[in-house]
Amino acid sequence: MSKRILVATRKGLFDVRRSASGWRIARTAFLGDILSQAMRDPRDGALYVAQSLGHFGVKLQRSTDDGKSWKEIAAPAFPKTDAKDGPSVEYLFSIETGGPDRPGTLWCGTVSGGLFRSADRGESWTLNEALWNEPSRKEWGGGGFNVDKPGIDTILVDPRDSDRMVVGISTGGVWQTKDGGRSWRVTSKGLYAEYMPPARRNDPYMQDVHRIARCAAHPDKLWLQHHNGVFRSTDGGETWKEVKSIKPSKFGFAVAAHPKDADTAWFVPGVKDECRIPVDAKMVVARTTDGAKSFKVLTKGLPQKHAYDLVLRHGLDVDETGKCLAMGSSTGNLWVTENGGNAWTLVAGNLPPIASVRFA
């Protein structure tokens, strides 16, 4: 079972470790800085932290001594254009490793909708021109917390083939490549956007993909939390079917997929888009273990009175056993479960707003 969680918050990094006495904050870094992501690369042990300094732009930091010291490396940036309104990276929304057979390769999804690749551990980055030049991009949208422009929130590299990837865009739909990013196609079939005029409801480019998670052992089985509900794909993300059994509500941001059992996934529902708090102010996690035929609402250890936590897209993670989950909220609560969600323990209750939790 995992013994370490990297927690990226609005005011710094929290390195949380499991000891005999339980989970505790072992180290902090970048206190006062707005962070969006923190990740450990399992291939070489390097740690990466994505900063969004607001006034001074996005930055990327790397540690090769397990977090004792950090070095600023290149951050993704758009090529210079002659256009007056040329793009600039506004937020580092997602960062992932490029697969076990691609050492040093990293992918980074950004607001304003650019996907970037590094082949040298973040020393330099290249914009994925194929996706950026996709004609439908002018239809992509954004709006809301940190996302005034389209944001790439999910990058899933296929464990069977590092050239195959699924990408989720808020708002821009689901996109896939089978050739390492040289070509892309949209695979949003089955998703719908309630907020669009009826004729555009099923427009593949208008889908607000909050987060996608895949079962590592069965990579064609994916779960998707969309602005308008929960969806599942059993064909590698080609088509999506709505999961209507989700409860207590269908709105949310985060999803975690069991690494071995394709029928098990976790969601953290909120009331709805214009009321982003838990239903009845009770903090809960919804878990299915039967492929979405049914959901169990998990409450043990979570506040059931006056809880207004929202768990953002990257605020939920599951470890390689499928038993240990970490959950961090916009209210600064960090919970852990070591039994698949049956019971949760509050690790820290006064953290800054949490953007991302990740087992390391």
């Binding site: 300094l53 607001g54 006034h55 210079k80 254009t81 040329g86 793009p87 600039s88």
Partner: protein
């Protein structure tokens, strides 16, 4: 040569000491500094080389832009508005 001074808040993240640099405009002076200190660039200007949205520049006591001309005795101040809770 014009003199450039940076907000103390920037010094927390990157080497941004007060310096003199060549140039006939704010942008040209900053470019001279970036050439000597490449990391500084992305803190002051965005991907397209525009001043970052919340970074302000003054020449002496007047608000300036990158194309504002400067003379040898001018002082350029680079600072920002802090906000948030």
């Amino acid at each position: 040569m014009p003199r450039v001074a940076f907000t103390g808040n920037l010094k927390r993240h990157v080497d941004a000491r007060t310096a003199r640099a060549e140039g006939a405009s704010v942008g040209a002076v900053l470019e001279s500094l970036f050439a000597a200190n490449p990391r500084l660039r992305s803190y002051v200007v965005d991907d397209q080389g525009r001043l970052r949205k919340h970074v302000n520049v003054y020449v002496n006591d007047a608000r300036a832009e990158l194309d504002t001309p400067v003379g040898a005795d001018d002082e350029i101040f680079v600072f920002q508005a802090l906000s948030g809770g």
